[in-house]
């Protein structure tokens, strides 16, 4: 019964693969398959909830899969072969639904690598573009490297005399590759812009958490909690700060969202780190707040990031580009998408009225209970967590205001014509937003259920406290909505008696005819902050100043490629290529050299045989 949802999804996948000749049928089968499998999943969860952490990690997939399916019905029109898309879409969803339910490691590893392969096919769906080769390759390498490390992790459990740290490090690296830990995240900003928007919505909303789930279920049981807590905390801090700083420096809308996924997974691992640290020093409030923080943040991130990526998909379909500096003024042409995108972005940067804040509040409280606990280790962890969380929150505000300002607000810059938004695309966004609003108000009631799920004893007092806090937070969000409507109403009816509002061009301090080129682009908004962080960002600028009295042309281009890829991975791969070039010299084509090598090797082996 448990694997029914995964089974249905897989069957639907295979079915739509078979009828990939007739696109329409494949689309219907695929969509129906996803929705059927998700309902089956929800039914199984309600009737016989599997215990432990896995239930939680199924939730994001169950939420996002149908939404992405509805969105992709309109998204892939005219892109590629719908049969293949729907087939592998359902197969990926099937693997993601099955993974949390598998307990032993070997089947888990097999389904894990299958998930990598199926999602790889989705990532390279519009294979026609030449620049898609590199992201697809990098994504496949990340999946395979993760798989190999996990194979090694499985193998190490059989070997005796293996140090605990090595065993732990390889497990962390294997799952960290999928979860996007600091140095292992380079595939995320490459794969997400390349993949179709609904796929990248599922990948960043649900698939990344499975990496973290893998760590919790398979790597941590044997290791002492303080070590796990500290590693996750430090990785989380570096990941979130690094992720968000790179996020606001990107020009491609989906790269901004990809880096913000890295930041959010950093925050989630910080929360889990606080939980383990709390557990190590048995500080109950920290455990409860840590658990609630990570659970809420996972769900909220899935909801809000899903909306953002679907919004980005709609923007791509409407304008054909994702470069923030080229777009603008989309709020007027695609109002619903624009508003949903803005709401979700505000929510994801942790600001109150939306559910993003609930998660962040819980993590802050976990940090603060660490600070107030008086244990030196916990205090420093709490200070670090709180400080990093606030800095990332502020930078997230910068990144998302750039994304919203650049794409949706103001006048359209280079891209002037844009298609109408199709209901298939913005209806899922509205549902996800609705769910996130419901999440805010349902938080106090779901909190005790979540804590009961984790089944650690003696947390009930702290849970009561948490419930009260959540109730307050939800009520103040409601208060914000009420106040806004109140002010709007009174402005609408009480104040304005007879004075009508006219409209005219923006008063630009006397400029007669302001044009779109005078507008502040996305990269201009963050230029000050980018200079502040330049030693970390290392932005690559290409400037040719205007020469001569009457300069004919001048251009300024800048891009901020991924730091760890430029300074760590690229040199490693270059070194390997260098070595292989030298090794290639041996196959020089001369028969004499070959026979000489053979005789020398033979003599060496004979001498070794005689000697040993």
């Amino acid at each position: 019964m448990i694997f029914s949802s995964a089974g249905i999804a897989a069957a639907a996948g295979v079915l739509s693969l078979l009828c990939c000749r007739r696109g329409g049928l494949a689309g219907v089968v695929g969509l129906a398959g996803t929705i059927l499998s998700v309902t089956a999943g929800i039914v199984t969860l309600c009737t016989s909830p599997p215990n432990g952490v896995s239930l939680l990690f199924m939730l994001p997939t169950l939420i996002l899969a149908p939404m992405a399916a509805i969105h992709s019905r309109a998204y892939i029109k005219g892109h590629g072969n719908p049969g293949i898309y729907w087939g592998f879409f359902n197969l990926t969803v099937a693997t993601m639904l099955a993974l949390p339910l598998i307990k032993e490691f070997l089947p888990f590893l097999i389904v894990w690598e299958l998930m990598g392969i199926f999602s790889f096919v989705l990532v390279m769906f519009n294979y026609k573009a030449d620049e898609l080769k590199r992201p697809a390759w990098i994504y496949l390498l990340a999946c395979e490297a993760g798989g190999l490390l996990l194979m090694l992790f499985y193998a190490l459990s059989f070997k005796s005399g293996v140090s605990q740290e090595l065993f732990y490090a390889i497990g962390m690296a294997g799952f960290g590759l999928k979860a996007g830990f600091p140095l292992l995240h380079i595939w995320l900003p490459e794969a997400h812009p390349a993949a179709p928007a609904p796929v990248s919505a599922i990948m960043s909303g649900a698939m990344i958490n499975l990496g973290l789930m893998g760590i919790l279920v398979f790597v941590f049981p044997g290791v002492d909690p303080a070590l796990c807590g500290w590693t996750l905390l430090i990785l989380g801090c570096i990941g979130s700060l690094g992720g968000i700083v790179f996020a606001f420096a990107q020009d491609n809308l989906k790269r901004v969202l990809a880096y913000s996924s890295i930041e959010n997974i950093g925050i989630i691992s910080m929360a889990v780190g606080c939980t383990f640290l709390g557990g190590a020093f048995n500080n109950n409030t920290m455990i409860v707040f840590g658990i609630l923080g990570s659970v809420f943040h996972i769900i909220n991130h899935a909801l809000l990031k899903g909306t953002l990526f679907l919004g980005a998909g709609q923007v791509f379909c409407a304008t054909g580009t994702l470069s923030i500096d080229k777009m603008g003024g989309l709020m007027k042409r695609t109002p619903v998408t624009g508003s949903c995108f803005t709401a979700a972005a505000v929510g994801l940067s942790g600001l109150p009225p939306f559910n993003g804040f609930i998660g962040e509040l819980m993590i802050y409280l976990a940090a603060f209970s660490g600070i107030c606990s008086g244990i030196v280790q916990l205090r420093f962890a709490g200070i670090a967590a709180a400080l990093v969380l606030s800095l990332t929150g502020a930078c997230a505000v910068v990144a998302f205001s750039k994304a919203i300002g650049g794409t949706f607000l103001g006048e359209p810059r280079k891209i002037t014509e844009c298609q109408k938004e199709s209901p298939w695309m913005y209806v899922p966004m509205l549902c996800l937003l609705l769910l996130s609003v419901i999440a805010v108000f349902s938080a106090p009631f779901t909190a005790p259920a979540i804590i009961k799920l984790v089944k650690t004893p003696g947390l009930d007092t702290a849970v009561a406290g948490a419930e009260k806090i959540l109730f307050y937070a939800a009520s103040f969000s409601a208060l914000f909505y009420i106040l806004c409507t109140l002010i709007l109403l009174c402005r609408r009816f009480l104040l304005v008696r007879g004075a009508e509002n006219e409209s005219g061009p923006t008063w630009d301090c006397g400029y007669a005819k302001p044009s779109a080129r005078m507008e502040y682009t996305g990269s201009a908004i963050i230029q000050n902050l980018a200079d502040l962080f330049n030693s970390f960002l290392q932005i690559r600028r290409k400037v040719d100043e205007p020469q001569g009295l009457f300069p004919s042309k001048a251009s300024f281009e800048w891009e901020s490629p991924d730091g760890s890829e430029r300074f760590f991975w690229a040199p490693v791969f270059k070194f390997a290529a260098g070595v292989s070039d030298k090794v290639h010299k041996f196959q020089s084509g001369y028969l004499h050299v070959y026979v000489l090598i053979m005789t020398v090797a033979l003599i060496a082996m004979v001498i070794w045989a005689i000697v040993s």
Binding site: P352, Y364, S390, V397, E500, N528
Partner: protein, 307 residues
Amino acid sequence: MMYWLLNLVLALLLAPVLFGVINKVKAFFAGRKGPRLMQTWYDIFKLLRKGSVYSTSSTWIFKFAPVGTLAALFIAMLFLPLGFCSSPLGFQGDALLFLYMLGLGRILTVLGALDTASSFEGMGAARELQFSVVSEGTMLLLLIFLAIQSSSCELNTMLCGRGNSFWMSAAPSMLLSAVALYVVLLTECCRVPVDDPETHLELTMIHEAMILDNSGPDLAFIHYGAGLKLWIFSAILTALVVPADLLSPWSALLVMTSGCFLTAVFVGITESMMARYRFLKVPQMLMGGFCVEFAALALLLISGGVK
């Protein structure tokens, strides 16, 4: 509870008057008579009666931004222990809700500014975002400082529940965090060293630039919001500095309001004595505020002035 409500009403009424006080102080230093104390109220009433002009390139965000900012600031107001009596609405963790409400107000203003597609508003928004990163960090360090002192996360206990002994036990760190809070106040309320409210040269504006295109009731809401924000920060400053456990409710009310007006006077003095910082020096000042607060925290931890 009753006294807190009284304080709240008082705050809502007197908030715009703070600007009047600042202008009066500046005028006094410049040998001028200066505008009336209630000038801001008159402006607000004038604006409320006017119709507003909306630019063709702006959307619903531009219309919603002032309203949202005002609502956010009002909610932020509710958690403060105005008049040194703890606010009934306070809960464990409201300090963070307070901090993030300010953040919400900031992002709504920024989005409203970007919506008008004007280069000056974009410039103001960009600068505002840059300063907000560092000032939010400093504010959080301050909250951590207070949390360590009062070992709780509720604004009421943090500000008022620390008892009188904290000045004796942690005087240097208290002083440092007051200075840091003052720097944050100057940045958040856009006073002189960071941004000059009276300037007419758009290139140098930050906060004023963001509200260039607002008119009518929106502008009124914004001015009133700015007043509220100034009142909030001065209230926190006074609560931080003044150990007011032994005061009776009425004297506490008096001390709080005079404290706020005193801060306004102090801001006026700094404005008349200092010119605006060069644009590149502002981040250094902010970083300075951040480090001061960090030093205060470190001092507190090392000196062990902790319960």
